[in-house]
Amino acid sequence: MGYRELTGMSDLSPIRELNKLSAAGGNTTRPTREPRNWRPFLLLIPAFIIVSFFFLAPLIDVFIRSITDPSLGIQNYVWLFTTPTNMVVAGRTFGTSFLVTIVCLLIAYPYAYLMTIVSDRTRNMLQLFIMLPLWTSILVRTLAWMVLLQDTGPINGLLESVFGIGPLPLIRSTFGVALGMTQVLLPFMVLPLYSALAKIDKRLLPAAANLGARPVTAFFTVYLPLSRPGIFAGSVTVFILGLGFYIIPALLGSSKEIMMSALMYQQISGFLMWGHGTALGIFMLTTTIVVLALVGRASKGTSLFAGRTK
């Protein structure tokens, strides 16, 4: 069967016996199952339980409340989509998030591109500068903006003394919210964008130039399309993180122009309308998932989690 000759031992008969047995097959040998390969699964259990109970379960709870509070049905979603102010708030939230995404992209692209053409040392420095703000809490940074942007703050003071205008509504306005959010979210655009740009072959641009393309044409026809995965990954991250912002709109925004997260807080904490608040939550979650799914397909291979290490 499986082999021809065994060994150079002087007495071969037991070996032949072995051969015969092995040829006899199944009845003499018991299958031994692959041992212990289930053990690593045990290591996953604690994390799985924690994430299930304190992440998944709360989300399910939100969903269940949205269709049962105060009674079973879709009345909360009907309320959500038929109340004009809700749609205004949703529009404002998406609009702000979208605006922030575009501004982030415009600022981040040249920065990320610069990172790909400088020396390693400079690149590390540029990366450090982009990460530094991540190390300070949003709350502290928002506090700083409050000081700077307030009506009696230094920026309005400067505008007034130099241009004679103002005070402009820098704070308690969508402008303040967008400014704060852009500053906080910029790293989430730069990092995935850089990791995508770093993969693009630098010789492509001169090659396109050799073929007669003007630098601008070469950029738009060659480089920009190749950087699309990074643009998608960065934009989707910034957009969905922006949708859920609560602190910055609450502190820098106007209470008359609230965003969805504030509306949620208002419904639940202020009016005890759990059904409304949770329906809004599910709406936001669904939007997030849809955006992720749509853009995730286009940006395969670029991690949305880039930059969360180091």
Binding site: L43, P133, V140, A144, V147, L148, I240, K310
Partner: protein
């Protein structure tokens, strides 16, 4: 190279815009006037004195440190186990499980927050230490898993096999071979977990109670309710705590790069 010059100038502006505004909080904290007006008038340490002598601020700082330290320990332990488990198992849908652990990073915090609020209401976990730790662990865990996984990728699986042939069981192999080798990632992950918890605000806002408030919650409440410049001093302390911890994490990853090189 005019393009590079222009880009560099833009980059400098970007960095200034990223970093400088936050720093106004430092002069504000030394303001001798009781207002948030910039520029500050005179120099005084009264807001720091206020912070360090006010029992409610101290209690919030204590709670924050306590929650952050316990969260760090819990998230790191669970994260190491999960990362090692994920590196060893092979089955259909494994990437689904990986994503399951990482999704708390992208799901809007406010949605998790109302869910936890609802859940904690029922189980009387609002404003409790376990409640805070568990909530923060969920958002700190992905960062530990990401960092430990990155470290694990640099560890040759044959080292564990070698250790086994030399007579070491699984636990022994983990503690004397694997753990020392992934220590940089573990350290970075742990520090990330600490800072995540220490700075966490949205979940904390929802699960707080007058009995237990973390520092960010107290800062937020103070900012929205009154205009007390003590907040500036607190913010500076909180900022430096985070930055110092993150610098340590940065140092730990540098070391990781050197070892794997």
């Amino acid at each position: 190279m005019t393009l590079k010059r222009a880009l560099s100038a833009l980059a400098v502006l970007t960095v200034l815009w990223l970093l400088l505004p936050t720093l106004v909080i430092i002069p504000m904290s030394f303001n001798s006037a009781a207002s948030f007006n910039f520029p500050p008038q005179g120099f005084s340490l009264q807001w720091y004195a206020n912070f360090f002598t006010d029992p409610s601020w101290m209690r919030a700082l204590g709670s924050s440190l306590q929650v952050a330290l316990i969260t760090m320990v819990v998230a790191t332990a669970l994260g190491i186990m999960a990362a090692i488990g994920l590196s060893k198992v092979r089955f259909r849908g494994k990437s689904l499980l990986e994503n399951f652990f990482l999704t708390p990073l992208i799901v809007p915090g406010i949605v998790i927050a109302i869910g936890l609020y609802s859940l904690f209401l029922r189980f009387n976990l609002l404003g409790t230490l376990p409640g805070f730790v568990l909530a923060h662990t969920v958002v700190a865990l992905p960062l530990v898993i990401i960092n430990v996984t990155a470290s694990l990728q640099g560890v040759d699986p044959r080292l564990e096999q070698a250790s086994a042939t030399l007579g070491a069981g699984r636990l022994r192999t983990f503690f004397s071979i694997t753990l020392p080798l992934i220590m940089p990632g573990v350290t970075a992950g742990a520090l990330f977990a600490f800072v995540t918890s220490f700075d966490e605000i949205i979940l904390s806002l929802f699960i707080q109670s007058p009995q237990l408030q973390t520092l960010p919650v107290k800062i937020y409440n103070s900012v929205t309710q009154a205009s007390d410049p003590t907040v500036a001093a607190v913010a500076v302390v909180a900022m430096f705590t985070s930055v110092i911890v993150m610098l340590t994490a940065q140092f730990a990853t540098r070391k990781r790069k050197r070892v794997s090189a």
